[in-house]
Every structure is written in C-alpha cells, then in structure tokens.
C-alpha cells in the first residue's frame, strides 16, 4: 500500500513537471527580442508610480541609454542576460518584501504565478 502510494505520487509529480499543472501555467519561451527561453513577467506602471521613483528601476535614465525598452538589453546583452532572473527577483521582490514588512500594500512577495504572467503593457 505504502509502496503503491509512493509510486503513484512519484508518477503524478513527474507528470505535473513534464506537462505542467492544470490552470494558468507559466512557460519559458524566447521573449522581448531575445533567444533564451525565459518566463513572462507582468508589470503595471500604474501600480508603481505613487510608491517607487522612476530611477529606482530605470537606471538607463542615469546611464543615458534612453529609448530602448528595459528587456531589450536584459535579454540580449550577454553581460547581463545570464543574471536576468537574479536581478529581477532581487529588484522586484526585495522591494515588495520591504513594503510588506512595513505594513504597506505590496506586490507579490513569493507567489511565482502572480508575476510570471503575460504582460498587458507590452
């Protein structure tokens, strides 16, 4: 009984990983002009205007690289594309955690699918 239960759980887990779970699913695919498969990310400027200064995220304003959408460099420039996940997790999530810790309304702190959805703004 225990063995069969474990085998069933193992097969179900493998099927979930191989085919994805039911419902909305995030998938890695080449996006934003890059060739490396990455997850979609959703972002709404309207949710951030009031609480985050533009330059917090838009370093290109200070670097005088105006004109290109953020993701163009972050998925095509070999110097930073490998760090995409780490950089954006740090940038977005650390700010959300600080806001949550301060008792303020915040974006998602951990739930993956809350951010990794197709973006309505692009």
């Amino acid at each position: 009984m225990v063995k069969w239960g474990l085998l069933a759980a193992l097969l179900l887990g493998a099927a979930l990983v191989a085919f994805g779970p039911p419902g909305a699913v995030a998938e890695r695919a080449p996006r934003y002009g890059g060739t490396t498969p990455i997850l979609a990310m959703t972002f709404a400027h309207s949710d951030h205007f009031a609480v985050v200064a533009c330059k917090t995220c838009h370093h290109e304003f200070a670097d005088r690289l105006m004109g290109l959408p953020c993701m163009t460099c972050h998925v095509t420039d070999a110097k930073v594309s490998g760090k995409l996940e780490e950089q954006f997790h740090t940038l977005c999530r650390s700010c959300h955690v600080e806001e949550r810790a301060a008792g303020k309304p915040s974006g998602p702190t951990r739930r993956c699918i809350a951010c990794h959805l197709p973006d309505d703004e692009t």
Binding site: K3, L6, V17, P21, A26, E27, G103, R110, R111, C112
Partner: protein, 208 residues
C-alpha cells in the same frame, strides 16, 4: 516533544520579519514543509527502544506524507512553480527534490520485507538508515536556508543549522540526557494542524 520541536523550527522564522508572508496559499504550503522538517529532526533525535519502533515507523510515514503534501501543494496551485523543477532550476530546489526522494527511499527501505532484501544484517541497516537520514535532513535544511525567504538573516540560519547539526551529529551528547520519547502519530498530527494554522494566520492577518 513534537510541539517543542515544531515550535522551535517555526520560531526561527518569526524572529525577523515574522509578519511578512507570501500569501495564504504560499505560507500554508511552506508551513507543511517546516512541520515535516521538524518531524525529521524529531526522528533523528529520538532513540526508539524496541517498543517504540512502531511509533517511529508511523511518524516516518506522516513526515513523508507532509513532505509530499508540501511539494504537491505548489505544483498544483502555482502555475510557475513547476518551472523550478526542470533544468535551470536553482540549487535549493534540487536539494528539496533530492531530500524528498531520499526520504521516500529511507521510508520504503526500512519496511519489512524490503529491508531484508537490501540488508541482511540489522547493524548495517541501522548505519545506512542513519546516514541516509542525515543526508535527507541536511538537504531539506539547505533547501530552506538557501531559498532565504523565511530565514532572511544569518542568526536565524545559524539557529536552524545548529538544530540540524545537533540532531544529526550530537547523538553522543543526547545520550547523556534523559531518553527522548518518540511522539505518537496523533500528537504530531495535532501539532501539525495547529502549527500550519498559526504560521499562516500570523503571516497574513492584517497588522493589529
């Protein structure tokens, strides 16, 4: 013992940013994982006598069930979590998966008659069972520590790491202390339900 151990493991996460949660669903799933980790530590600390082996076995099934529940909770309820179990996933996820598979092997290979098929001698079985247990606990602890969400500061990590090291390698010291009884399955499950509820509520109720 189950309440104390589960309380200790959860308390390490409440020392700093204890009110910061990842949402009801996320925190409930991770509470299952923390309770499973506490159960694993309990299994390592307790010294089951001949009459307590049955309790040790049933507690093992409960810990494995909670660990499986923790993994499936996210696979079924978060459509992006499965991406973290395919090539390119961070190390802490591989450690979590490895710990879970190790725990399944630990459980199955300790049952009769499987145990006799693998180990003819009881002493060999005990040694392998113990060291596989150590590997599983360390993998599970690193899964928690490297993910860095609930234990964001080094003192919290040090507390959990100390508990893990004491449970895994402090057996000679523990032998001098009064024998730690193996908790019953019922008491562990009651503590688990309460702990998951408290953990989830504390991190998600609005500030008072």
């Amino acid at each position: 013992m189950p309440a104390g151990l589960v309380g200790f493991v959860l308390a390490t996460g409440f020392l700093v940013r204890g009110r910061v949660g990842g949402g009801w669903y996320w925190d409930a799933g991770n509470a299952l994982g923390f309770v499973a980790l506490a159960g694993l530590l309990g299994q390592m600390i307790a010294l089951p006598g001949p009459r307590e082996l049955r309790r040790h076995e049933w507690l093992g099934y409960a810990v494995l069930g909670l660990a499986i529940g923790h993994a499936f909770w996210f696979l079924l309820g978060d459509g992006a979590a499965w991406v973290y179990l395919v090539p390119g996933a961070p190390l802490y996820m591989w450690l979590g998966l490895g710990g879970l598979l190790g725990l399944a092997a630990l459980t199955v290979l300790a049952r009769m008659p499987e145990r006799l098929r693998v180990h003819r001698r009881y002493r060999t079985f005990r040694r392998v069972h113990r060291w596989l247990g150590v590997a599983v606990v360390i993998a599970a602890a690193l899964h928690v520590l490297l993910s860095g969400f609930y234990l964001p500061t080094w003192p919290q990590s040090a507390l959990l790491a100390g508990a893990v090291l004491a449970a895994c390698f402090g057996r000679s010291m523990l032998r001098r202390l009064p024998a730690v009884p193996v908790p019953s399955l019922g008491s562990y499950l009651v503590v688990a339900v309460v702990a998951v509820g408290v953990f989830t509520l504390a991190r998600n109720l609005p500030p008072w």
